[in-house]
């Protein structure tokens, strides 16, 4: 292996090596302080101007390959920065609460995340992915309470589901593939008789991380459970692992899968608005951010769908998707760290105000305001949608401004939920702690500039600015009206994790009951159980009534949005396919 290959290996290996410090008992309590610095080699690797040779370790696992392409590099830069900054703030904010045991899991998850980005074959990707997913449990459960345990359980259940789906997909892919590198696996899926099944399994297995609708339940829960600086890592860095998996493994550039593609586009579009609707009915700002992630990832999922429909656009789409992921990750992480600065910082009004104002910047970026990374990311996504020669995709170009309206609305709700009396009685944070965060706020502009390709249309001219601005203004207007209207009637809350929580309760009841059958003293249980059960039923009905109220709100908003969406979309779709049919007939 060459020196440059070794360097590549160092990124995921450093956190693992740092774990050895645990053995030295005098240094053990300091592991929490040292942990974030394990991200430095990865950071250097991402910034190093030189190309890296791929590295191979044929004896490890079933043959391990590492490489760093431009997609991996841009995501590695984001990931390394966020692990370092998030870890550093975690230490500043939580101090001694970061036990050595936690630090070990933190390092494992970090290694997994870097490994995912540098992996160049399916098996090691899967391996690092599993390491990251399971070790992140430690971040969710840093403070074990009823709430975090629930989040942890839902999270682990979904992780397991994702693991087995991903493994099955890899098996299907490997069966037809000549080797285990990504290109061969993609070819294997493209040629396999079970290709479509493998694609679905990939969408399912990695969709758990991305928050695909139906698999999204854990995101809001774990963002609420993990302390804010750690949530920044979860929401900014780890969420992209699933996306990267899609970019690496889906055979989108090779075969068109129109059936799958349309469903994926529909799922993405649904997520983009479902996330906003449920998010609007939340009361915890962290949960709102979770639903915002679901919604943002919905837009990216839509783009994946375009790629599955039109292979010729895939290579361009990949770059746009990666750029969007970097932009979203940075903005989300900045928002979460801002929440942490308010929560763990002094109660003084000035501090709280400063942070809140600072948070406007990433929020505007998420909405795609002019002069932010969001404008470029969203503009490119929209431009891509318009170039696609697909009726549905063109209709979807309509979705973008609408989604901006929705995002603005959601972020307005987020700011409205920031409590005024926040802050800690005793704080370790000083003014200097704002510095790093300030840098994080400013970085996106440079970054995105360095990523842009000459072939991309420039988003800096007037029309683009205006087309980015009007949905935001509309959203703000709508938000103002909504706030005025809501001042009189606060809508009920949909539980964070929405349908997933109901599913979870259902499963729990089934499991508890089946356990009950096995107990030998079951008549006793029933007599006790029936009394307790009656009270439970009553409590459940009461809760159901308030929650049902929330759902009614959700439904109303959803129908409204769908109507808004479908009006231009449906017209264009029907028109487009009719035109296509006519042209086919004429030919």
């Amino acid at each position: 292996m060459t020196v440059s290959g070794l360097w590549l290996l160092l990124a995921p290996a450093t956190p693992l090596l740092l774990m050895l410090v645990w053995v030295l008992s005098p240094l053990r309590p300091r592991l929490g302080v040292l942990a974030p610095w394990a991200a430095l080699p990865a950071l250097l690797l991402a910034l190093w101007p030189q190309e890296f040779a791929a590295a191979s370790l044929p004896g490890v696992q079933l043959g391990t390959h590492l490489a760093l392409d431009s997609i991996g590099r841009s995501l590695l830069l984001l990931t390394a920065v966020l692990w370092w900054v998030g870890g550093w703030y975690a230490w500043r904010m939580l101090g001694q609460q970061l036990t050595p045991g936690f630090a070990l899991l933190f390092l494992l998850a970090m290694a997994g995340n870097f490994g995912v980005l540098t992996a160049d074959d399916g098996i090691s990707f899967y391996c690092w992915f599993a390491l990251m997913s399971f070790a992140a449990y430690g971040m969710v459960l840093l403070h074990p309470t009823r709430q975090t345990r629930l989040a942890g359980r839902v999270y682990i259940a979904l992780v397991l589901l994702g693991e087995v789906a991903l493994l099955s997909a890899l098996m299907l892919a490997a069966q037809g593939a000549a080797a285990m590198d990504f290109a061969s696996l993609r070819a294997g899926i493209a040629e396999s008789a079970h290709g479509e099944l493998a694609v679905w399994l990939l969408l399912l297995g990695l969709g758990v991380k991305v928050g695909l609708p139906g698999l999204h339940f854990s995101l809001p829960l774990i963002y609420r459970a993990a302390p804010a600086p750690l949530a920044a890592i979860l929401a900014g860095a780890m969420i992209n692992a699933g996306l990267l998996g899609w970019l690496r493994l889906l055979p989108a550039g090779q075969v068109a899968m129109p059936g799958v593609a349309e469903l994926v586009m529909a799922l993405g579009m649904f997520a983009a608005f479902y996330g906003v609707v449920i998010g609007l009915l939340q009361r915890d700002p962290r949960v709102v951010l979770g639903y915002s992630s679901i919604s943002q990832m919905g837009l990216v999922t839509m783009a994946i769908g375009w790629g599955l429909a039109a292979p010729q656009y895939w290579s361009a789409l990949v770059l746009v998707v990666a750029l969007y992921a970097v932009h979203h990750g940075l903005a989300k992480a900045a928002l979460f760290i801002g929440l942490g600065l308010r929560e763990y910082g002094p109660r003084a009004g000035r501090w709280q105000r400063t942070v809140a104002i600072g948070m406007l910047l990433p929020a505007l970026a998420l909405a795609g305001a002019p002069l932010t990374s969001g404008l470029l990311a969203k503009g490119l996504l929209k431009a891509q949608a318009e170039t696609l020669a697909l009726p549905l995709a063109q209709a979807l170009a309509w979705v973008m401004p609408l989604s901006t309206v929705a995002t603005t609305l959601l972020l307005a709700r987020f700011f409205a939920l920031l409590r005024h009396d926040q802050g800690a009685a005793q704080t370790r944070l000083v003014r200097g702690d704002l510095l790093l965060w300030g840098l994080l706020l400013l970085v996106p502009a440079f970054w995105v500039g360095s990523l842009s390709q000459p072939s991309w249309p420039s988003p800096w001219h007037g029309t683009a600015m205006w087309s980015a601005l009007w949905p935001i203004l509309l959203g703000l207007l709508f938000a103002g009206w909504l706030r005025h209207w809501l001042a009189r009637r606060e809508p009920a809350e949909v539980p964070p994790g929405d349908l997933g929580i109901w599913l979870y309760r259902l499963c729990l009841r089934v499991v508890v009951r089946s356990r009950g059958w096995r107990l030998e003293a079951w008549p006793w249980r029933i007599s006790i159980g029936s009394v307790a059960g009656w009270h439970r039923l009553q409590a459940w009905l009461t809760r159901y009534r308030t929650e049902a109220n929330g759902w009614r709100w959700a439904m109303m908003l959803m129908v409204l949005l769908i109507l808004l969406l479908l009006w231009p979309g449906l017209a264009m779709w029907v028109g487009g396919s009719t035109a296509e049919a006519i042209s086919v007939n004429l030919a």
């Binding site: 490890v60 391996c127 074990p144 682990i156 397991l160 087995v164 096995r518």
Partner: protein
């Protein structure tokens, strides 16, 4: 002596075992020395054989008992895979048992039968025909009985009775099948691709019956449902016995026998022609799921592990029954991988019981803080069982899955997926309890070991085997890894 190495491998545990019976209870140093010398010598001899076979040498010892009935030992790839595992784990378990049984009564009896048990296992592995196999197989049954009954309690005696009942009936079925087979084929030899080359088609019905008899006889030890009933009961035995029983000796001998019958008596190709492999695969799949479901409901840690064994050993049978070269590799490596993982789990269960008096899953709250190294080993092995990369269990699962797809039996993937989920469902709550819940005020029955969390003789073996679980998975492609050996064996069976 070089060609008689297999005999010396058998004797290296037989002789110390026989000598130990004559030692007085208090001669513990001599006993330890005999055990250690035996275990190290055996490991060295096996190492030599592996080196030799790798360089093309053949080892073969024959001794004609009756005309046509030979006591025959040899060392082919499959034998070495199993012998290597047994001799390695014997050494580790001996260290563990010495620590575990310190100051407890009847140690000479225990270690004597322990050595005999290993002798029988090694004999099973090295036998070159069904007759020799049968002899050692029965010897295994009889030498394990005193180990299960060792504690002498009513529960132990009952468990041992049940064990004996099951295995003696199994042995009888196996004998019946063997004799019947001999009348048809005139040979009991093991040969790659089987001995059925020129059998008349009219005999196929009888051969199917014989297959059922042989598998039923072997299936008792391999704990295939519905013949698994003895295994969860037998876990009353002391921890080193359970460890050896579940990882190497009894259960594995059954699974190994099934591999031998399918590969070297019937031959994979002929068996699939007979149509006996699909039912076997379905039985194995049912066992995998049934064992996991039952494990979910056990609060007793060792019982949970026992049901897990029922489930996991059937991976080996499943891999064999899928009838494809890659699935066969998956089954064969699981022979080793399951052994390493399960022995670690039982060692750790023993550590918990000996150090803190913990026998139940519900008592394991926060035990990770009190015994971090033990629980680390447990965690590695448990995650390996679920099949997470880069651990050993993942490699087995991967080869089984790919092999099943290659053989056109995609349903196996569903079984593997369900089994992984079930494994997670009964292992992850244990890990959660141990690492994420606060410890209780007092442990059920705590003993102090100074600065260390427990006796070194107990801790070290668990750490060594846990490390092996990691390394066999992580370095699966290195020379001499179980995967490489299994590939080598599979190539011999499936060459065309």
């Amino acid at each position: 002596m070089s060609s008689s190495l297999p005999l010396w491998v058998v004797l290296s545990s037989l002789l110390p075992g026989l000598l130990i019976f004559f030692l007085a209870e208090r001669q513990s140093r001599l006993r330890i020395a005999l055990n250690a010398v035996g275990a190290v010598v055996k490991l060295a001899l096996v190492g030599m054989m592996i080196w030799g076979v790798y360089h093309g040498l053949h080892y073969d010892v024959r001794w004609e008992l009756l005309p046509g009935l030979e006591l025959a030992l040899q060392a082919d790839g499959l034998a070495l895979l199993f012998v290597g595992l047994s001799s390695l784990l014997w050494l580790v378990t001996t260290v563990y048992a010495i620590g575990y049984l310190e100051d407890s009564p009847h140690r000479s009896r225990f270690f004597g039968f322990f050595s005999l048990c290993v002798t029988a296992t090694v004999g099973v592995a090295l036998s070159d025909n069904l007759f020799t196999f049968l002899l050692f197989y029965e010897m295994l049954t009889l030498s394990t009985y005193p180990l299960i009954v060792h504690r002498g309690t009513e529960v132990a005696r009952q468990a041992a009775r049940i064990y004996l009942g099951y295995t003696l009936v199994g042995g009888a079925l196996l004998l019946l099948g063997t004799v019947w087979l001999y009348t048809l084929t005139g040979t009991l030899e093991f040969r790659p691709q089987g001995v059925m080359g020129e059998i008349d088609e009219a005999q196929h019905g009888a051969l199917r019956m014989i297959f059922v008899l042989l598998i039923a006889g072997l299936g008792v030890k391999a704990a295939l449902i519905p013949l698994h009933g003895w295994l969860p009961k037998a876990m009353v035995a002391p921890a080193p016995v359970s460890a050896l029983l579940h990882a190497v000796a009894v259960v594995k001998a059954g699974a190994f026998g099934i591999v031998r019958v399918v590969h070297d008596v019937y031959g994979v190709e002929f068996s699939s022609e007979l149509g006996v492999l699909l039912p076997l695969a379905v039985l194995a799949a049912a066992t995998i799921l049934y064992g996991s479901v039952r494990a979910l409901y056990q609060d007793d840690l060792k019982r949970r592990l026992a049901y897990s064994t029922v489930s996991q050993v059937s991976y080996i049978v499943l891999g064999t029954a899928i009838a494809g070269p890659i699935a066969a590799i998956g089954g064969l490596i699981h022979l080793v991988h399951q052994g390493l993982m399960k022995i670690t789990l039982f060692f750790c269960a023993g550590n918990l019981a000996e150090t803190l008096g913990i026998h139940k899953v519900s008592e394991m709250q926060g035990v990770g803080r009190r015994m971090p190294l033990t629980m680390l080993a447990f965690t590695v092995a448990a995650l390996g069982m679920i099949g997470l990369p880069p651990l050993a269990g993942f490699i087995s699962k991967w080869y089984l899955g790919i092999g099943a797809l290659e053989a056109g039996q995609a349903w196996v993937i569903v079984v593997l997926v369900l089994s992984s989920l079930l494994n997670a469902a009964y292992f992850l709550p244990i890990l959660y309890r141990a690492w994420f819940m606060p410890p209780p005020k007092a442990w059920p029955q705590a003993r102090e070991f100074g600065a260390a969390e427990t006796a070194w003789a107990l801790l070290l073996p668990s750490l060594v085997t846990a490390l092996l679980v990691l390394l066999t998975g992580l370095l699966a492609q290195m020379a001499f890894s179980p995967l490489q050996w299994a590939t080598f064996i599979s190539l011999l069976e499936f060459r065309s």
